[in-house]
Symmetry: C2
DNA sequence: TTATTATAGACACATGAAGTCTTTGATTGG
DNA sequence: CCAATCAAAGACTTCATGTGTCTATAATAA
């Protein structure tokens, strides 16, 4: 029961892209260097963010990744859902959800966490302070 | 990023033990039958609950597992921590926590979930309704 | 002493995370 | 058109963990 490292990479990469002002495409090589991770691995993660509609990609020379849509709207939950998926954290007695009170409590708790991740926008954190990539 | 099946088994077993009134020892065979899981596997899970101080065990004939302490105090979080451990769900830039704002947000979100699991007592759910084991 | 019951550990298996490598496809610049 | 650049996709490896099973050991009651 842990968030994957991929989620960590995705959050830091998105934080960087949101924090810097110019919205020109960034190469995966450059982004990977900042986190000490291989470019090919990071590209697999970023592709998930592309498919989720958070960023867009451009092939060819001077291509790379760029924010898509309004940077103010992107929440922590958007990125986490893109990487981890949207399935519930708790599976109970074979998807007969409504009857199981235990399942209900677990879902409420999970919603409590997601609510905070949904309300917290990346840009709010980016504005507080941005020192490099950490 | 999912809760283990072991947590599910632990929650249902504890819910059963809290719901039934007589506090006589229950054998693992009996408890395992209700959930369709092997006794030896369930015993490994219950041993964690013993070490966490939630229940106590007795060997020998007419032995088994029994609630320890006050049944009203046991929360969902107690059981989850006993099975899953108490480590944070999110690991960031090498445990240099305080500086990373992303880590801070993730911790706050996790605390939101834990708060709900801590405030919800097993007995509250047990009193609502208890139909068999689900 | 024997039957019963929990505990512990070794073991096997499946799954998913984490990462590498290679090929393909798209785009730009000359 | 050609070559360089860059993302996308898939096969593959490795490792850790969850999920069990099985057996032996220890404790307790009749």
């Amino acid at each position: 029961m842990k968030y994957s490292k991929a989620t960590n990479y995705a959050l830091h990469t998105m934080m960087y892209m949101i924090a810097i002002e110019p919205n020109s495409p960034l190469g995966v090589q450059q982004l990977a260097d900042k986190q000490g991770v291989s470019p090919t691995y990071l590209s697999k993660i970023l592709t998930k963010l592309v498919k989720a509609g958070l960023i867009e990609s451009a092939s060819g020379a001077h291509g790379g990744y760029r924010l898509k849509g309004k940077r103010e709207d992107i929440s922590f939950l958007d990125i986490i859902h893109a990487v981890e998926g949207t399935a519930s954290l708790f599976e109970c007695c074979g998807s007969e959800d409504s009857k199981c009170l235990i399942h209900g409590v677990m879902l409420e708790a999970e919603e409590g966490m997601e609510q905070h991740l949904k309300n917290t926008k990346m840009i709010d954190v980016a504005r507080k302070r941005f020192s490099g990539i950490s």
